[in-house]
């Protein structure tokens, strides 16, 4: 055994409080030097009183670790002396350590183990306590003879000898256990030796964050343990499709399929882009970055949005709902029911009548009323009791009745201001049947199929009834259809006032007219013989019959100037005077043609009353709807003339 000399090569640096020694020019780990634990540093200048630092290990040629941190001053690049510990001291120390280790309680316990049978492995069971376990048990885990599913299945082995073991997979509470026969006695089983614990509670599973991933990327689930369970964070890829980004922002980095709104249109990104705006033109166009998804429409001229109902009926006209101007509703009026000017009107006849009435076109509707001389301006005679007394009005007195019909001024303030005359109807004896005032309106087709309004202004000295109805008379000759009467409506007259009555005239399609050309619509005003106050005087004027249910018009009776009324009456009845002055230079009969003022509705019946001077034999011939001849025979001598007062009656 040798002892190496001290090693002093190089210098060292030490730091107060540090166990690391740094060398410079040292070779502490080199073979032959081989600084070992227990070697000591000595003679360190500037560290008197701190020499003898024990080395724990040589980390490298230039680094040592001390057993204790350096307690001396910090020094740098100082000399030193490293003294190696002798080998004898080292062996002695190691032997002492071995003896201390073998003298513990564990070695005797090991020595006491029984290794009979082999395949045994020693195992500490405590300090100074050991045993052996079978290697088979160690590698096979639990040992048993048979395995059954349930405790009941174990019964099949109740007769097995002591030591026989059975593994029951589920003893009833979910656990597994081994039972061993304690003795050979039937069913003498040991207590269960559980090999699994009871069924624990279900772990808590918490749904953590959910993140939308880019389209096409794989989905992800990231578990994070939490007390009693786990939290799952999901990453779900977005579906392929549009991604609404709202209004276009030039600072936003858009991706393919992003959709933006710009100038009222929407665009879809064709590729990733930033700062490239979509088309601002109208209509918009595609660009390299954006394609038009939906183009805005032409701007309207209004100022508000209009909201309609959830549904509508095809062809109906929309109207405003309320006063905001922003809501519309179904007006209920089909397009086909409005007044048309560019094509045929499709209104039904009754609807046309309504339309005219609703239009309140009275002031424009000359001859709207089908009654002629409804104001009783012309009488054939001052008064009478039957027949045509007032022009166009046929009076039928009724059986046993006595009436006087005369013209009177319509001077009551209650009557319309333009009405000048009226018919005064005085019945002194009521008789046994109604007294009737009838106007036969030419042509039974008049207002057929229409709703009509009959208006009468009337008054009576005492309350009484006036009945009104219409009759469609198809004339005489041939085989005409039977007369069709409307219902009879009654008004109670008293103080002068207006009475409006509405009738629905039937259509006449399929009806047969008479051959004598005297079909007509009769307007009948009648006073029942058994009316209240049947003999009271009654005034009637401004009688009209107009198409439609007159509501808006104040007065459907359309006033006509007297010349017009006279001319209308002349179509039915005309009187005149023809005078012929012949002088003396003639021989034989002569004739003189007279033109009617108005063309007659038919060849009239005529009367003639002649007065002569030096003439005789007057008469009428060549009567037509336009004119006639008067003739007379002059005397042989003397100046002659004649005067003929005539009437021409073409009434219905």
């Amino acid at each position: 055994m040798t002892v190496k000399s001290d090693y002093t090569s190089g210098t060292i640096s030490l730091t107060n409080g540090s166990a690391t020694v740094t060398g410079s020019g040292t070779a502490w780990a080199q073979p032959g030097i081989d600084v070992q634990e227990g070697d000591t540093l000595l003679n360190i200048p500037g560290a008197q009183g701190f020499n003898g630092a024990v080395i724990a290990a040589a980390v490298s040629d230039t680094e040592l670790t001390l057993v204790l941190p350096w307690e001396g001053p910090t020094l740098a690049g100082v000399t030193y002396r490293l003294r190696f510990q002798p080998d004898g001291s080292r062996v002695k120390a190691e032997s002492r350590n071995l003896i201390e280790m073998l003298s513990g309680p564990n070695i005797p316990a090991f020595q006491a183990l029984d290794g009979t049978g082999g395949d045994k492995i020693p195992m500490f069971t405590g300090t100074g306590a050991m045993t052996v376990i079978s290697r088979t048990d160690l590698i096979a885990g639990v040992h048993y003879d048979v395995q059954v599913d349930t405790l009941a299945d174990r019964d099949a082995y109740d007769a097995e000898p002591a030591g026989f073991s059975v593994l029951v997979s589920d003893v009833g509470d979910g656990r597994s256990a081994i039972y061993s026969k304690v003795t050979n006695t039937l069913a003498d089983w040991s207590a269960p030796a559980y090999i699994t614990g009871p069924v624990g509670p279900l772990p808590d599973v918490e749904v953590g964050t959910t993140t939308t991933l880019p389209p096409g990327s794989p989905a992800s689930v990231t578990p994070t343990p939490i007390p009693g369970g786990v939290s799952l964070a999901f990453g779900i890829p977005a579906g392929e499709g549009f991604y609404w980004e709202g209004a276009y922002n030039p600072a936003t980095a858009y991706q393919k399929d992003d959709v933006v709104r710009f100038n009222g249109s929407t665009f879809i990104a064709l590729q990733a882009t930033t700062g490239n705006s979509p088309s601002g033109a109208f209509p918009p166009v595609d660009t390299a970055f954006w394609a038009v998804l939906a183009s805005k429409g032409q701007d309207g001229l209004g100022t508000g949005d209009v909201v309609g109902p959830n549904s509508a009926v095809d062809g109906r006209i929309a109207s405003f709902d309320g006063t905001t101007g922003k809501r519309i509703e179904d007006s209920g009026v089909p397009v086909g029911k409005v007044l048309r000017f560019d094509q045929a009107q499709v209104l039904a006849a009754t609807e046309k009548a309504w339309a005219r009435a609703n239009a309140e076109v009275g002031i424009l509707s000359a001859f709207r009323s089908k009654v002629i001389s409804g104001g009783f301006d012309f009488f054939r005679q001052p008064s009478g009791s039957s027949g045509y007394i007032a022009e166009r009005w046929l009076f039928s007195p009724g059986a046993g009745a006595t009436n006087t019909i005369s013209q009177a001024d319509a001077n009551n303030a209650a009557y319309p201001p333009y009405v000048r005359k009226s018919l005064f109807w005085q019945r002194s004896v009521a008789g046994t049947s109604p007294s009737q005032l009838i106007q036969k309106i030419e042509n039974v087709n008049t207002l057929a199929g229409r709703r009509v309004t009959v208006e009468i202004w009337a008054g009576s000295s005492a309350p009484t009834e006036l009945e009104v109805y219409l009759a469609q008379v198809f004339g005489t000759g041939g085989s005409p259809s039977a007369t069709v009467n409307t219902s009879v409506q009654s008004v109670n007259t008293g103080a002068p006032g207006r009475y409006r009555l509405y009738f629905d005239l039937p259509a006449i399609s399929g009806k047969v007219y008479g051959t004598n050309g005297d079909d007509a619509l009769w307007l009948v005003l009648r006073r029942p013989h058994n009316a209240t106050n049947p003999t009271t005087g009654m005034v009637i004027t401004a009688v009209s019959i107009s198409e439609g249910e007159v509501v808006g018009d104040d007065i459907p009776f359309d006033w006509r100037d007297l010349a017009t009324v006279r001319s209308q009456c002349d179509r039915f009845y005309e009187t005149g005077r023809t005078q012929m002055n012949l002088g003396s230079a003639t021989t034989g009969a002569f004739a003189y043609a007279t033109q009617f003022r108005q063309v007659k509705r038919r060849v009239p019946d005529m009367t003639s009353a002649f007065s002569y001077s030096n003439a005789s034999g007057g008469g009428l011939n060549s009567i037509s709807v336009t004119d006639f001849n008067t003739f007379a025979t002059p005397a042989a001598t003397g100046n002659c003339y004649f005067i003929c007062n005539w009437t021409a009656d073409a009434e219905i």
């Binding site: 005297d518 034989g588 038919r602 060849v603 019946d605 005529m606 011939n621 009567i623 025979t633 042989a636």
Partner: protein
């Protein structure tokens, strides 16, 4: 109602309720239809009767000029044989009027003297 008959142009003269009407022979006339009802009772409308000819004036000079000399001598003899009153009247008038009763006497005398045909010819109305 009294139906007087047809007129020359085919109308019908009828009096209804005291008023005489000239009614067209047309059933569009209510009065004609009244006449028709009257006819259905078995009555018939009387036919047209022409009125008597109108009177005329014949100048005596025309009458004389129409005669031949021989006829004038004959009529002179007839006139001479007439009574004094008739002879004076003939000589005093300038013309004859056809509806005068004496004109009928003159026509008869001429027919007796010269024959009916010559009487008609000589006393015919003057042509203008």
């Amino acid at each position: 109602m009294e139906v007087h008959g047809y007129t020359e142009d085919g109308s019908i003269e009828v009096t209804i309720d005291g008023v005489r009407w000239t009614v067209p022979d047309d059933m569009s006339s209510p009065k004609r239809r009244q006449v028709a009802e009257w006819e259905e009772l078995g009555n018939a409308i009387p036919p047209y009767e022409p009125p008597p000819p109108a009177p005329y004036v014949l100048y005596k000079s025309t009458f004389i000029r129409r005669m031949s000399v021989q006829e004038a001598e004959t009529m002179e003899g007839v006139l001479a044989a007439a009574d004094a009153k008739l002879r004076l009247l003939f000589n005093s008038v300038e013309y004859f009027v056809s509806d005068d009763p004496l004109f009928a006497d003159l026509r008869a005398a001429v027919a007796t003297a010269l024959g009916q045909q010559r009487a008609d010819d000589l006393l015919a109305p003057e042509t203008v």
